[in-house]
Subunit: 211 residues, 2 copies
């Protein structure tokens, strides 16, 4: 297996942390990013122009972080991170998608539409120019704000995002928040349950090693 | 079980079509939308303010279309629509997410940011006003355009979106395209493989019955 990685990209960290939590060996990793983008060599052979991507070694190339995790979950069943029955699978997927749609996407909207390095790259996954839209900075902040409040409510009642054990939903939420922190959009003061949870999941060995 | 539904919403159609393809009985359905939005009665008890939502009857409420499908997939294993092994599961999830991120989201960006009925509701899932951003109309069109080209390449080589059999990835792609058609953003002429595939999947009984 070979993992195409861009070290600072939060979507790559989701997969690296998943691999470490599973206790799998980190596959051979190829860096395909430079300071603020993907190399032309990479996007020429992978025109989806997104990271991470996993080559399984038998001709299959998998893009999309959660599709890679799904593949690895089946490769090694324990520890289970995506649900052991239909009910668990549904609850984990529901919260994982919320973390991505509101947390990760909110932070990405702020970064992509404000940072000078992303001029004409306002949206990931396009090889053609996509202009920045300044109004999305405010919309992204609002989205992130809804994410924090929603997860505060959930984490007030639950030790982890999807219930009483650590799952891939925690990984996406953690990677989203640590990404938002780089943009000075860290956990608001009125979200003490998110702070408590963030402290706990950040202390996991895989959280530190995946940075 | 009880399905909270807004008949014209493409994300609700994804789940209805999935239920029909599985050969499951349609659960009791409650309409929670009016012409252009969700009722206050619904969003008061489901503050995520999104449809569809499934109550399983034993206290679990599942939001997010794909989380609902995941639950139902485990309830009835055949016909399999989400993958029978790790490799299939990964490929289906990869293409399903692409259909959603580029097709469905592109069309939604165009509608939400252009239609007068969505003034101050530029983004789904918020109970607070979210202003429309006119620049997102063009960005949404570009996103949809990339979706069509990407799926043309895939469907030139494959009978269905994720390979040689019908899966949930076809459902999301079909619902995205039929949504885009309502906005006069139907399949471009230079995408004959998408046209061929669209004709085939539209002729499935579940496609007609889920409209």
């Amino acid at each position: 297996m070979k993992l195409y990685n861009w070290q600072p990209a939060p979507n790559c960290r989701r997969v690296r942390m998943f691999i470490l939590e599973k206790g799998l060996d980190m596959p051979e990793t190829k860096e395909v990013g430079y300071e603020f983008g993907l190399t032309a060599d990479y996007t020429k052979t992978w025109t989806h122009a997104l990271v991470p991507m996993l080559e399984t070694g038998d001709g299959l190339r998998i893009g999309e972080a959660m599709a890679i995790c799904r593949f690895l979950e089946e490769e090694r069943l324990e520890p289970n991170l995506m649900g052991a029955n239909g009910r668990e699978k549904a609850v984990i997927e529901m919260w994982e998608r919320r973390a991505y749609e509101e947390g990760m996407t909110g932070a990405a909207e702020v970064l992509r539409n404000s940072h000078p390095a992303f001029v004409d790259r306002g949206l990931q996954g396009s090889l053609e120019p996509v202009p920045q839209i300044p109004a999305l900075i405010e919309r992204g902040r609002g989205r992130l704000n809804r994410f924090y409040r929603k997860f505060e409510d959930q984490l007030r009642e639950n030790r982890f995002v999807a219930g009483d054990r650590f799952t891939v939903a925690d990984i996406t939420a953690l990677c989203s928040i640590d990404f938002a922190k780089l943009l000075d959009l860290g956990i608001p003061e009125d979200c003490p349950s998110v702070v408590r949870w963030h402290r706990e999941v950040s202390s996991r060995p895989a959280a530190g090693a995946s940075l």
